[in-house]
């Protein structure tokens, strides 16, 4: 299957601002060589802790940031080298829903204007047709018809997130970037919105790039999960395989730290010492080695490449027979 969106060795470094008198040559290595592909109609979920580069990756996809190196290709085209017409097409094919539905909707616009705006800007449709589409979109996301004359403040958080989803879907995009779409919502409302997103994917064939710190929500929504640590993908593959049988020591620790869904759930916590180091001076070799309970001598020196292990890709020397020797892990 050809990928809808493909990232090849994408790098994003931000310069660190120097002091008043001295410029600085230091760099924040926010995203440091990530490769992934999103097939049409599927969900790539990204997990990782603060500072792992997942939101920067989302911004690169949305072209809100320019990659330092590497390429993002949408339907085979590098998104940095699009001509103006191609860029307009790209912008209408890729939409976003953000975390805070209180900040992402203009409080002075009525819902019909919020949802209709992408249509008015990007299509030559007459006002009557736009109105019809807005009503259809409201129905699609489960809001009543009368919602279209109201302002955002007249809605609850969950309903606002539905408005944001309707706006994102107005141009029939092929990919929607979902950056923490349910974390600001109440527990009973989260399931409503997650179900809605899953239904819309089935009905419209839209692909999602899904970011959340709630591991269970990501695992629930995704076909493929990528685990990021300090700007790198340490493990990527089938969501169920990774969630139930993680291979990278970081993935294992991360999923073992997830909260249980039942008090009797067997827990074998792998405690991690310390905190995520700064992406300004990430550790040499494998970036996880200072916290890794299973680190080998080679881990401090050599950057691990992604290896194919048990049907997914893992960047860890433990699975490399030439470095781990007879102790090397197999599937």
């Amino acid at each position: 299957m050809t990928a809808l969106l493909e990232a090849v060795d994408v790098v994003k470094h931000f310069p660190v601002r120097g002091s008043l008198w001295r410029s600085s040559r230091r760099l924040v290595r926010a995203v440091d060589g990530v490769t992934f592909a999103i097939p049409p109609g599927q969900t790539l979920g990204v997990v990782g802790e603060s500072g792992c580069g997942k939101s920067t990756t989302a911004k690169l996809i949305l072209r809100l940031e320019t990659p330092t190196a590497g390429a993002l290709r949408f339907e085979g085209q590098d998104i940095q080298s699009l001509d103006p017409a191609g860029l307009r097409r790209y912008r209408s094919s890729v939409q976003a829903v953000f975390q805070d539905p209180y900040a992402s909707l203009n409080p002075r616009m009525r819902v019909r204007a919020i949802i209709g705006e992408p249509l008015a800007t990007n299509t030559p449709l007459p006002a009557r047709e736009i109105r019809k589409r807005v009503l259809a979109l409201l129905e699609l996301v489960g809001l009543p018809e009368r919602a279209h004359d109201l302002f955002p403040h007249e809605f609850s958080g969950g309903q606002r997130q539905r408005i944001a989803i309707a706006r994102a879907l107005a141009l029939e995009p092929k990919l929607v970037v979902l950056d923490e779409p349910v974390s600001a919502l109440d527990v009973s409302i989260r399931a409503q919105v997650l179900n809605l997103l899953a239904d819309l994917q089935r009905r419209l064939g839209v692909a999602y790039f899904f970011i959340a710190h709630d591991l269970a929500a990501v695992a629930h929504m995704s076909h493929v999960v990528a685990v990021m640590y300090l700007g790198k993908i340490v493990e990527i593959g089938d969501a169920r395989a990774i969630a139930t049988d993680p291979k990278h020591p970081y993935t294992r620790a991360l999923f073992s730290a997830a909260l249980p869904s039942h008090p009797d759930e067997a827990r074998q916590e792998i405690p991690l010492t310390g905190e995520v180091p700064s992406p300004i001076d990430p550790p040499a070799g494998c970036r996880f080695h200072p916290r890794c309970p299973e680190a080998l001598p080679a881990c401090a020196a050599q950057v691990p490449e992604l290896l194919t292990v048990a049907g997914r890709h893992v960047a860890c020397h433990l699975y490399d027979a030439s470095l781990a020797g007879p102790a090397a892990r197999h599937a």
């Binding site: 599927q42 969900t43 802790e49 603060s50 609850s156 969950g158 309903q159 109440d186 527990v187 009973s188 409302i189 989260r190 399931a191 409503q192 997650l194 179900n195 899953a198 710190h213 709630d214 591991l215 269970a216 929500a217 695992a219 629930h220 929504m221 995704s222 076909h223 089938d238 969501a239 169920r240 969630a243 139930t244 620790a253 991360l254 999923f255 073992s256 730290a257 997830a258 909260l259 249980p260 869904s261 039942h262 008090p263 009797d264 759930e265 827990r267 916590e269 405690p271 991690l272 310390g274 905190e275 995520v276």
Partner: protein, 334 residues
Amino acid sequence: MGEPLLELRHLAVHYVSARGSRVVRAVDDVSLRLGAGETLGVVGESGSGKTTLALSILRLLPPAARVVGGAVTFEGADLLAKSDAEMRAVRGKRIAMILQDPMASLNPLLTIGDQVGEPLRVHENASRRSAWSRAGDLLRAVRIPAPAARLYEYPHQMSGGMRQRIVGAMAISCRPRLLIADEPTTSLDVTIQSQYLTLLRELQVAHGLALIFITHNLGIVARMCDRIAVMYAGRIVEAGAVRTIFNAPAHPYTRALLESIPRIQDGAGPGARRLTAIEGQPPDLADPPAGCAFHPRCAHAMARCRAESPPVLPVGEGQAARCWLVAEGTPTSA
């Protein structure tokens, strides 16, 4: 259970608007008991009254709130009858609290040493020198690396996880009997959250603390708590042992909440599990629905639910629910 450490009897707290025209029943007829060393999870959505409940135990309610009925007994004494000075001797010494945002609980202008030592100076008349040295021990107890050096630093020099540990160190400084933690890990990353929960559990065992977790996260309850109280629209709709309630919830709201949570092993694609969503919105507490406040969203609602508010009905060993289905003897899981 013998004499409980904390007991609330029919507590009711209302918020009254300036002109008295709007009354919000934030906490309505809440009763619960907590024994020494026990862990209770108070679960509910925003606006369910769980934070108001915590603040009324400490008598830290905002001016618009009124305790309109009920009693709060802690270590055998009625907290609502205490003078402000007597209450100050309880807060931080017998009952401590940890809030969601550690930066809001720390003074950015004071060193960590002064802040962690402050409760000792206030409650135990410790000298500044001895408070500092004990603050160093407390930082060690909450696993802050290089505690002696950290005492001289300021909150902005710490990471979020470390700040929350420091707040934890302040909370246990006077060896309280009860610690109330209001969403203590919401702002933390998964692995840091897990470290912090492990730490709280260790502190609890070491000091024989009773813990109240105020949270919307059932995972925290599953991991940490002995008992659970589920709040909806200002009332405890179901309470009991965590295992019992996770296995056999009696109230439709509890059951729906438990089924609405995604699980790690779910995954999308063929055979994906659909979450049970609770349709509709929580009610406006200034104008709650008649009868059971959950009836407009309840799949099992009967005529009686729309008319009469259900009392607390016993379900089984230590489990109780406010639901007419219990009175009818119809288990909702059928």
